[in-house]
């Protein structure tokens, strides 16, 4: 429908304008965020150099590439937090959403997408600096670059749907913090955020195949950094598509139920 295109275009534009006003804050956030992967980068490059040049196929240069691309993928992964629902319910923002003739998820996707555009723009100079400092080895093919460009948006979409689903638990019970923490820790370990999944034990890599975490994080990075065959690129994108479908069905099923619970009591 044309109207949905209009809506996303307007949401995106509004978001870009708003977030551009906060560019200073965004830059500081990005620079602060960089510390985490730099730590991992330095530690693993050191080990690679200590152990004869590479570990599990990762040289110091490839580690550098992995963790620099990591910074962009991490930014693309940031979306509406499941912890945010409690506040949304409490301060009346949810009611405002319910009065609009639009599913609130479009609002979130649209707004965050605009923010991502600004983030990508601000990230480029930071990535340039990191490249100068850490000398990554990065030689992607054109197919890899194209797949990467699609995959980062796929990752954003999957994670938004997934965290929406998670956050909706808040409608039934507010004692969810511990559960969310455990979820995020599992994600940290199984997504390729802590270390490239190739460095994890085999059983962990097998389990990750059935979870969406790698599709959101490790796959986009590996798509650009390699080594990866064209077939693996295609499989990865397909897996992303599957998770998007699963996530969409989940949200479509859970949301009306969540609203019913909310409107029985709060309004």
């Amino acid at each position: 429908m044309i109207w949905y295109l209009r809506l996303y275009a307007t949401l995106g534009r509004t978001s870009v304008m708003t977030n551009f006003q906060y560019r200073f804050a965004n830059v500081l956030f990005l620079v602060g965020m960089v510390a985490e992967p730099v730590v991992y980068l330095v530690v693993w490059s050191t080990i690679a150099r200590q152990e004869g040049g590479s570990i599990d196929g990762y040289t110091a240069g490839r580690f550098a590439a992995y963790y620099i691309v990591w910074t962009l993928v991490r930014s693309m992964n940031i979306t509406f937090t499941p912890f945010g629902w409690e506040e949304r319910i409490r301060d009346g923002e949810l009611s405002a959403h319910l009065l609009r003739p639009v599913h609130p998820i479009h609002y979130d996707i649209g707004f965050f997408s605009g923010w991502k555009v600004v983030t990508i723009a601000l990230w480029l100079p930071i990535a340039a600096v990191l490249t100068l400092v850490f000398d990554p080895s990065l030689h992607p093919s054109l197919v890899q670059v194209v797949t990467f460009s699609i995959a980062i948006w796929g990752a954003f979409l999957i994670r938004t749907l997934l965290l929406w689903l998670l956050g909706m638990i808040t409608f039934w019970t507010t004692r969810v913090s511990a559960f969310f923490e455990i979820f995020f820790t599992a994600e940290l370990l199984l997504s390729g955020r802590l270390v490239p999944l190739a460095l994890m034990p085999d059983w962990v890599q097998d389990v990750s195949l059935f979870l969406p975490f790698e599709s959101c994080f490790g796959f986009p990075i590996t798509a650009l950094v390699g080594p990866i065959s064209n077939q693996e690129l295609a499989t990865g994108l397909l897996r992303q598509l599957v998770w998007i479908v699963v996530g969409s069905i989940g949200v479509a099923v859970a949301w009306p139920r969540a609203v019913r619970v909310y409107s029985a009591v709060n309004g």
Partner: protein, 326 residues
């Protein structure tokens, strides 16, 4: 078919019972006790297209609960609601595009951007065609005097200016039904008058059905020919504003201006005496007779017969608590 039709509407909340003391809180860990709080009970309302209705009641009477049920935010526990033929709680997008709920402290505009940008977003959300959008926006800008404000970031506007912009934003889709919860709350007198005037014009021009809750009697007197009084979740009164006094106020006030001072205590209860006039309170049924007597007995220069102030009437209505059929 009426625009708003409410039948035997009820809403009951389950509220956890919490007693004080250590033993009680230990017990509550195991088994939660609940009691029922009846917010709205057996309410019937029928409002036609183009009516402006004041919805009055003390705090906690059930006004906001009722409005939320009418806008689809809250599910009724009992009864039926139909607005423009839709069942609000289904929250169909076609319904949401034809109505508006404006609650005083909503912040819908983008804080860092000029209002114009928020308006564009509203246009996209409500699927307003370009031509319709421009004519509606221009009309709202004119009626609310927004011209110079639209290009300033919303955070730079004063409270009153922001309220006007928020109201404009809520009405860009030209809803046929408006639910307003205390629209003039916290605004200065000039702004209140402007909003009142605007609502009256909007109703006259577009035939929109307006239902508003308010504690300001000036709002009621200016806009509402019909009022519905709700208390303890039930409708106390539903009819013309003038009749409210008839139903609940037992007296009238006579203000008599005389050629020369005189003692009027025989005619009624004397409230106030000034150099030129006397104010009397007289029982409602005796008002006509007392007036006749005064006019024939004394050299009266001027005489007015008034209902008590609306505030007093409303208070009496709340206090009566009686449920009278409309």
């Amino acid at each position: 078919m009426p625009a708003i039709s409410v039948n035997a509407l009820g809403k009951t909340f389950k509220v956890p019972v919490r007693e004080s003391g250590l033993a009680a809180s230990a017990k509550s860990l195991l088994r939660r006790a609940y009691r029922d709080v009846i917010a709205v009970a057996d309410v019937d309302i029928s409002i036609d297209v183009g009516e402006v209705v004041g919805f009055l009641g003390p705090n906690g009477a059930g006004k906001t609960t009722t409005l939320k049920m009418l806008s689809g935010l809250l599910q009724p526990s009992a009864g039926e609601v139909r607005v423009l033929g839709y069942e609000p709680q289904r929250r169909q997008h076609e319904y949401l595009r034809r109505m508006a709920l404006v609650m005083g402290n909503r912040n819908q505009l983008q804080w860092d951007l000029p209002a114009t940008d928020s308006f564009e977003l509203t246009r996209a959300i409500y699927r307003i065609g370009r031509a319709d959008f421009e004519s509606q926006r221009d009309e709202l800008v004119e009626l609310l005097d927004l011209g110079s404000l639209l290009d300033k970031p919303v955070r730079n506007l004063s409270l009153g200016e922001r309220m006007k912009a928020e109201i404009a934003n809520s009405l860009l889709h030209r809803p046929e039904v408006l639910f307003l919860d205390e629209p003039t709350l916290g605004l200065d007198v000039t702004m209140q008058r402007r909003i009142r005037g605007f609502l009256g014009t909007y109703n006259a021009r577009h035939g929109a059905c307006i239902m508003l809750t308010t504690h300001y009697m000036a709002d009621v007197e200016a806009l509402c020919e019909r009022v519905i009084v709700i208390h303890h979740g039930s409708v106390l009164f539903d009819g013309a504003l003038r009749e409210l006094a008839d139903r609940f106020a037992g007296h009238k006030t006579l203000t008599v201006t005389l050629e020369s001072p005189a003692d009027l205590s025989a005619y009624g209860e004397v409230l106030e005496v000034t150099a030129t006039s006397v104010r009397l309170r007289v029982g409602r049924d005796q008002a006509a007779a007392a007036t006749q007597q005064l006019l024939s007995d004394l050299p009266v220069r001027d005489l007015t017969v008034e209902d008590p102030p609306i505030e007093d009437v409303i208070e009496l209505a709340f206090a009566s608590g009686a449920v009278t059929p409309p």
